[in-house]
Amino acid sequence: MEYTTVIGLEVHVQLLTKSKLFCGCENLFNPDNPNVQTCPVCLGLPGALPVMNREAFRLSLKTSLALNLQIAQSSKWDRKQYYYPDLPKAYQISQYDLPYSSEGCVEITVPSTGKTRRVGLFRAHLEEDAGKNIHDESGRGGDSQVDLNRCGTPLLEIVSKPDIRSAEEARVFLEELRLLLWYIEVSDCNMQEGSLRCDANVNLHVQHNGETVATPIVEIKNLNSFRGVEAALEYEIRQQAKKFEADPEGYRIGKVPKATHGWNADRGVTFEQRGKEEAADYRYFPDPDLCPVTVSDDEIAEIRATLCEFPASRRHRYVSKLGLSDDVAGVIIDQGRRYADYFEAVASECGDGKQAANWMTQDVQRELNERKVEITEFSIPAAVLGTLLKQIVAGEITVKSGREVFIVLLTEGDDGSELETSRVNEIIAEKGLKVEQDTGKIESIIDTVVTRNEKAAEDVRAGKLQAVGPLIGQVMRELKGADASAVRQMIIDRLTK
C-alpha cells in the first residue's frame, strides 16, 4: 500500500516571565504546593480584571522573529469559552481571528535521509494556560482536585502546517523548535514540567485505484516527550494503514468523524478519548477587558537586535569553521545556549575548537554532572579554562599537566575564589609544570637515563620500540613538564641515529 503521511503539530510553550500573563502572581512550576500562586485575577473572581504582561508579549514577538513569522501590526484578545474546572472564568483569553503573527517556517534536517526540509507554520498566538486537574486514580470515582497555580501562565500556541511527512520528522521538528525557543530564552521548554506540550494531527493520503484518498484525521493530545511524539505517530500511522486496508471505501475522511486520541506511553498505544457531549462551540468574541496591541517596525527591529545566533546556524559553524564532527557539534549545541556560549569563549581563547570541544564534552561535562549544576554555575570561568587550554595548544604544558591545573582551579573555584586568568600561569609555575623547552637540558637528562638503563637502550637500538616507554617515563619524571611525544622522538633519535 502506497501512501503519504500528513502530520501537523500544535505546540504549546510556556513563556519565561517572572509573573503570569494577566496578573502579578509568580510564574513558577510548583505542583507540590497547590493554590498558593493565585489572586483575584487568575482565580477569576467576580470583578477582577486582566492586564497584559509586557514581557510576555515581547517574548512572543521574539519567538515569531525566530520562526520567520510575519508579525501583525495590530492584534486583539478574544475569549474562548468552555467549561472545565481548571478554567475558573469559564473562558480562556486567547487570540482568534487576529493572531499577533502568522505564516512562518522552521527548517529541519532529518537524520535518516540527511535531507533538509522546511516545515511551514500557520500562526503563533499568545494565550493563558489553564490550571491543573488531578483525577482520582483509585477507580472509586472520588473527587478530582483542582490546582490553579498554573492558571494564567503565558502560553504560546504554535501551529504548523500539515507539512510533516513522518513520525521521525515530527520528532525532529519538535526537537529543533524546542532548541530554538530554548536558545532565544523565551521558554525553558521543560517537557517534564509541561512547559512544552504537543498535540498532533495525522492522516494518510493513500494511492488507491489510481486516485489519492485521505484517511480521517486523528488528533493525538498531550504528547509530553519527543519519544512519545514519534512513537504515538508511528503507532497511529500503522493503525490508519491497517484500517484503510480493511475498509478502503469506508475509512475515509468525511465518512468517519475526526477522532481525538490519547497516548498511553506505558502500553505504547493510542486510545480513543471520550467524545464530547456536544460539538464544541467556543463562541469567540473580543475580550472587552483588554485593549488591542499594536507593534511598530522600530519595536520589531529592537527585538530582532536581541536575538542570538540560532542553534542550526551554530551547529553548522562548529562543523565548517571549528572543524568539529557533526556529532560533537550536536552534543554541544544540545546542551543549550549558555553551554555553547561557554564553549565558544573557550575555543576562541585557546584557538582550537577541537581541543575546547574535547574538554567540554569530557572534563567539564563530568564535573557538571558530578556537581549537578548548569554551566552558568560552573566555578571555572570560560576565559580561565580558555587560558589553560591555550597553554596546552601552544605546547607550554602537557595535557596531563593541564588536567592537574584544571583540578586545582576547580578546587579553588568551588571554594569560592574568583578565578582570574592569571591564576593559570601561577599554578603552572607553582607546580613547575611548564614544558622544558631547553633541548640541551633534556638531552643531558636523556643521556643520564640511557646510561642507567643499558638493557632498554639496547632493545631500542635493536628496533624494539616498545622498550622506549620506560625510558620516556623516567625522563618525564625528571623533567616534570615536558612534551612526551617530543621526548620520545628525542630518545629514539639519540639511540638510532
Partner: protein
C-alpha cells in the same frame, strides 16, 4: 416572529449550562423569540463597510511591567469554594479518557 424551537432553546441552555424544565424551555422559547424578532430591526441598516466597535474607548497597548505581586494565601483562595480538602478545590470526578 423569529421561530425558536424548543430544541433550539435546549441547545442554547446546554451551551449556557442551564438546567431548564420543559415549562421553562417553552417559556424562554417564546420570550427569546420575541426579543430576537425585535432585534431584526438592525437588518434595515447596511453595515457592510462599518468597523465593529468592541470597546467604548479607543485605547491600545495597555501593558504592565513583568513584576510579581503577592498572591493570596491558600486559605483565602479556597475560602469561597463550595468544596475543598484544604489544599485543592474539589469537584466531582471529571470524566475524560476514563
Amino acid at each position: 416572529m423569529v421561530e425558536l424551537s424548543n430544541e433550539d432553546v435546549r441547545k442554547v441552555a446546554s451551551l449556557a449550562r442551564l438546567k431548564l424544565s420543559d415549562a421553562e424551555i417553552e417559556h424562554f422559547a417564546q420570550q427569546l423569540g420575541g426579543v430576537l424578532q425585535y432585534v431584526h430591526v438592525l437588518d434595515e441598516l447596511d453595515v457592510s463597510d462599518i468597523e465593529p466597535m468592541a470597546h467604548a474607548v479607543d485605547i491600545s497597548n495597555v501593558l504592565r511591567d513583568d513584576e510579581t505581586t503577592p498572591s493570596l494565601p491558600r486559605e483565602d483562595a479556597l475560602a469561597n469554594a463550595p468544596k475543598t480538602d484544604g489544599r485543592y478545590f474539589l469537584v466531582p470526578q471529571i470524566l475524560e479518557n476514563a
